[in-house]
């Protein structure tokens, strides 16, 4: 019995060492980026791992002052796209899911499959035809149309999640509301939608973070200066000035890391539950 306990302890120590080593590997690049943001560019290559003492704000300031970067514009573009794109996805998908989950007709079943197909589309197939389609329709590429593009790309996943979720809710509440004379829309909005809040949170995190981090869509559809595309275009001329590159990365990553650390349970659920259910 004693030796078994000893063995268990050895295994435990071994496990912790494995985890620690991997954690260092995971954190090291992030540490390098953060520490060197606050160092003079000239010493980064000599002492990349040292702490930034004395710290300098030179890199941050040069990004803030750079003539070809407008951080405020980049942030506001990304925030508008993220908020509006997520809202639109949530509204369109939850409404559609209400019909798909509660109406049991052949047409409804076929529509479910129709919406589901989008989940496995590699989005690269869409960009070029979509740009041509919008050009022919005379719609300029920019923030407004991108909001709808992001919604179109997320409707499949969100509708699927909502439909499954509505299935798990008892229909009696809706029937009671119908007897009270509430319209279908009111029933949905006042009774069903609040019950879907956990599902909405999952979808909002998945879709919102996806839009915030998306690079390909704003790059290929009009080079819209979101935070990702803005950094990509701005870093070009500085490609060897790592201090400035790190400062850009700092501005892109810090909001995400702060929100992640505050709501990490929701983040993990949002990003993995989506996959598990899908």
């Amino acid at each position: 019995m004693h030796s078994m306990k000893g063995k268990a302890r050895v295994v435990n120590v071994f496990q912790t060492i494995c985890l620690l080593l991997l954690a260092i590997v995971v954190i090291l690049p992030i540490y390098i980026a953060v520490a060197n943001t606050f160092k003079d560019s000239s010493i980064i290559l000599d002492q990349p791992l040292s702490l930034p003492i004395p710290a300098t704000l030179e890199n941050i300031i040069s990004v803030l002052k750079s003539p070809n970067t407008n951080l405020g514009e980049m942030y506001s573009n990304s925030i508008v796209l993220m908020v509006a794109g997520t809202l639109l996805t949530v509204i369109l998908s939850s409404l559609a899911a209400y019909y798909l989950a509660r109406v049991k007709t052949k047409a409804s079943g076929m529509l479910r499959i129709y919406f589901l197909i989008g989940i496995m589309v590699p989005y690269v197939i869409v960009y070029l035809p979509l740009c041509i389609l919008l050009r022919n329709m005379g719609i300029p590429l920019g923030i407004p149309v991108l909001i709808f593009v992001f919604a179109s790309g997320n409707i499949s996943f969100a509708t699927f999640m909502y439909t499954n979720n509505i299935h798990t809710l008892p229909i009696e509440l809706e029937e009671a509301a119908a007897i009270d004379g509430a319209s279908k829309f009111k029933t949905f909005w006042v009774i069903l939608f609040p019950l879907l809040r956990p599902c909405t949170a999952t979808i909002a995190i998945f879709v919102g973070l996806g839009i915030w981090n998306d690079f390909q869509t704003p790059l290929l559809m009009g080079q819209v200066k979101t935070i990702t595309v803005g950094i990509y275009t701005a870093v070009g001329p500085y490609s060897a000035n790592w201090g400035v590159v790190f400062a850009y990365v700092f501005f892109a990553a810090v909001p995400v890391i702060i929100v992640y650390l505050c709501a990490q349970k929701n983040f993990v659920n949002g990003l993995t539950m989506g996959a598990v259910k899908g």
Binding site: A96, Y99, L128, P129, F215, V268
Partner: protein, 288 residues
């Protein structure tokens, strides 16, 4: 129940947005793929010629090879290591929780941000070579992103680093569905760790495992951002992936028809793989 039906109007907005901005462009891609077109002049019908040309395209062949190599290596490593890590952090303790939070961080960051960080480390005038020089190991200094072999290895490392925590979380979710009583029963029957893993854990996490495999395969087949930023497909076309190739042919070279043909094949391949895995998974579940 009252015959007060939910109106079709609830679906219409989603249907319109989804159809116009996603489904119609996909049909357009199929249509373009049978034509020679630069996006501006009149189209010229080619039939299947674009598709035949795919097989003769050396540049595309290289992109396919890169994508397949990256996919196979990353899929195997993140799934094996992801499951291993998930088992290590599958306890209710502060320590496990901290490790989970740390391992998941790279996945929430944008690929643009992490690609630049890794580029700064791996570039010829980057941090890694700086460290090697400082340590007096100048002969080890290498042009990691400047040659095909090392560059592909670098891309693989970054992709593993980025997605490992995500797959750990997928496996963790699967592990937490395994009832503890089964492990206890296994112990009573004299089973050791390996027996528990093989006879209890593995069969019960097959659904979660399929999801994890499917997600990693689809993610790797769509690889674009990291390559775009770290190597920009270079040197030459050496580190291109399929999606990089499609974008480059379509947007830079205006070969609308040809790039559409490539993306149609990619679309069908991903569809076939998804259906195959989902089917295999539901069969396994029935067996249990």
């Amino acid at each position: 129940m009252k015959k007060n039906k939910i109106s079709f109007g609830f679906v219409v907005p989603a249907f319109v947005v989804y159809t116009v901005l996603l489904v119609i462009p996909i049909f357009m891609a199929f249509y373009f793929s049978f034509n020679k077109w630069n996006g501006f002049n009149t189209m010229q019908f080619l039939g299947l010629e674009n598709y035949f040309n795919l097989f003769r395209d050396v540049r595309l062949g290289n992109a396919v090879k890169n994508t397949v190599v990256i996919s196979i290596v990353v899929v195997i490593i993140v799934n094996v290591l992801g499951l291993f890590l998930a088992m290590l952090v599958n306890t209710e303790s502060v320590k496990s929780n901290i490790f989970r939070i740390i391992f998941f961080v790279p996945f929430v960051l944008s690929t643009v941000a992490i690609s630049f960080v890794w580029k700064s480390i791996l570039s010829y005038n980057g941090v890694l070579n700086g460290i090697l020089t400082t340590l007096g190991q100048s002969e080890l200094v290498g042009n990691w992103l400047g040659k095909q072999g090392p560059a592909i290895v670098c891309i693989i490392i970054v992709e593993i680093w980025r997605t490992l925590g995500y797959h750990m979380m997928l496996y963790l979710a699967a592990l937490q569905t395994v009832p503890q009583e089964l492990y206890e029963a296994c112990t009573v029957d004299g089973g050791n760790r390996w027996h528990k893993f093989k006879s209890v854990t593995l069969p019960l996490i097959i659904p979660g495992m399929s999801v994890s495999f499917l997600m990693s395969i689809i993610n790797e087949l769509r690889m674009y951002d990291i390559v775009k930023i770290m190597t920009d497909g270079g040197p030459g076309y050496d580190t291109e992936t399929i999606v990089y190739n499609i974008v480059s042919q379509g947007f830079s070279n205006n070969m609308v028809g040809y790039s559409s043909a490539i993306s149609v094949v990619l679309f069908l391949a991903i569809g076939a793989i998804s259906i195959f895995i989902v089917n295999a998974m539901s069969k396994k579940e029935v067996e249990m």
